[in-house]
Structure formats: C-alpha cells, structure tokens
C-alpha cells in the first residue's frame, strides 16, 4: 500500500491498510501514549444491510488537506507523531476504511488529537462513499438528499453518517 511517513503523514491507498506496520512505524522511546482509530465497513447503516463499499478519492487534495489538518492539530495539541491512511476503491464487510495513529508524551494529547483528526478527515477531505445493499440497491452516502434539496442546511445533515 501507499505508506505515509512523518514528512507525508496522510496517505491514500487502493490496497489493504496494514495497521500492524503503521503501528510499528510509530514506535518511539519518547512517547508514552499511542491512540489509534480504525473505521471498519459495518454490515448496516441507517437501517439498511450493507454488503460492500466503494470509496472515490480525489487524491491530490485529499493528501494535501489531510496533511494540513494533521500539521495544524499536531502543533496546536502538542503530540509526537501522526500517521493517517484512507482507502480508495472497493471494500468488503469488515474492511478497514481509515486508520489514524497518534503518539504523544501523555495520553490526553493523543486522544484529543486522534479524535479531531478523524472528525476532520471525515468532513473536510474530498472522499465519497458509495454503499451497496443486500437488496441490490446502491447510493452515494449523504449525497442524494443533500444535493437534491439544493439548499444551505449547514453540516448536521451532511455529516450525520459516522
């Protein structure tokens, strides 16, 4: 897969996310805490039975925006290192869609930064999720309703899926 490093902490990959290798890359004798988040493909969403997902990613801006978010949060919160990877393409049930790992001297900073980074990855990066359901239907998550309403309704609705 495309691996992130500390100079390029946000990566997009079209192959399996290797959580084991990512964790090892964060090993650090001056860090006392590691917090990781993984988003997995769940078998249900909003009452429908999901069988697979497809992520579309606009790589140039997803990587740039991800790196910008990570740099901003890292500096403000005060952490050691951050790595993040988001999947592109088709995922099956149980697949890892996104991985974020944060190290810090003390645990509070790692928890705060990890949470803020995944929250922002989900709403600021140009990434779109198409769900395929057991009934044969499919759809872009959160897109149809928002776009067809065509009004400015703020972010509550747009970001309802997590």
């Amino acid at each position: 897969m495309s691996l992130p490093d500390f100079d390029h902490p946000m990566a997009i990959t079209d192959t399996d996310i290797d959580a084991v290798r990512l964790r090892e890359h964060l090993f650090d004798h001056s860090a006392g805490a590691l917090v990781t988040f993984e988003g997995w493909v769940r078998d249900h969403n909003e009452g429908r039975n999901v069988i697979s997902l497809d992520y579309e990613v606009y790589r140039p801006l997803a990587i740039a925006e991800g790196a910008r978010i990570i740099a901003e949060v890292s500096q403000r919160v005060g952490v050691r290192q951050v790595l993040a990877v988001h999947r592109e393409g088709a995922l099956e049930l149980g697949g890892c869609a996104v991985w974020v790992g944060v190290t810090s001297a003390h645990r509070d900073e790692a928890f705060v930064a990890c949470r803020e980074i995944i929250d922002r990855i989900k709403v600021e990066l140009p990434i779109w999720k198409k769900e395929y359901y057991t009934d044969g239907d499919s759809g872009w998550v959160n897109c149809e309703r928002c776009a067809s309403h065509g009004h400015s309704h703020g972010h509550d609705h747009t970001h309802a899926h997590r």
């Binding site: 988003g39 801006l61 988001h86 990855i121 989900k122 897109c143 928002c146």
Partner: protein, 80 residues
C-alpha cells in the same frame, strides 16, 4: 467569454455523465459557474454542503473564475 475545465466527482459525475468537460462561461465567480451548470450536476445551491477547488486549491464560492481555470465541484463528502 472564458473557457474553463469543470471536473465532477461522485454523484455529480454520475448525474453529468462525465468526469470532466470544457465550459464556455461569463460567470464571474465559482457560485455563478455552478449555478449555470445546475442542469448538469442537479443542485441549485452548493453553499454549506458542497465544496469547490480551483486549480487544485480549495476555494470559497466567491472566488473569481479566470480563463483556463480548472474548477472542481465536490458534492457532500463522506470519508471514513
């Protein structure tokens, strides 16, 4: 008239039936260009849930559009 390249993503691409097209426009800003193309992407007002980037930089909807720009229209995102 200016000529710009418009790129559509996800739902917008499905609706427009293409991922990229050349557009002639007199639109002064990105919002006006988006409105001009409403029959293509199917959305009246993008503000608050759609995003725009110009020449691979995220932009506000009032960004000025210039001849030769590459304009990216992003429907609501859903990463993770």
């Amino acid at each position: 008239m200016k000529t710009v390249t418009v790129n559509y993503f996800a739902l917008f691409r499905d609706r427009a039936g293409c991922s990229s097209e050349q557009v002639s426009t007199s639109a002064s800003d990105a919002l006006a260009l988006f409105t001009q193309l409403r029959e293509r992407h199917g959305t009246d007002d993008p503000r608050g849930h759609c995003k725009v980037a110009v020449n691979d930089v995220m932009a506000d909807w009032d960004i000025e559009i210039q001849d030769g720009d590459v304009v990216l229209f992003f429907p609501p995102v859903a990463g993770g």
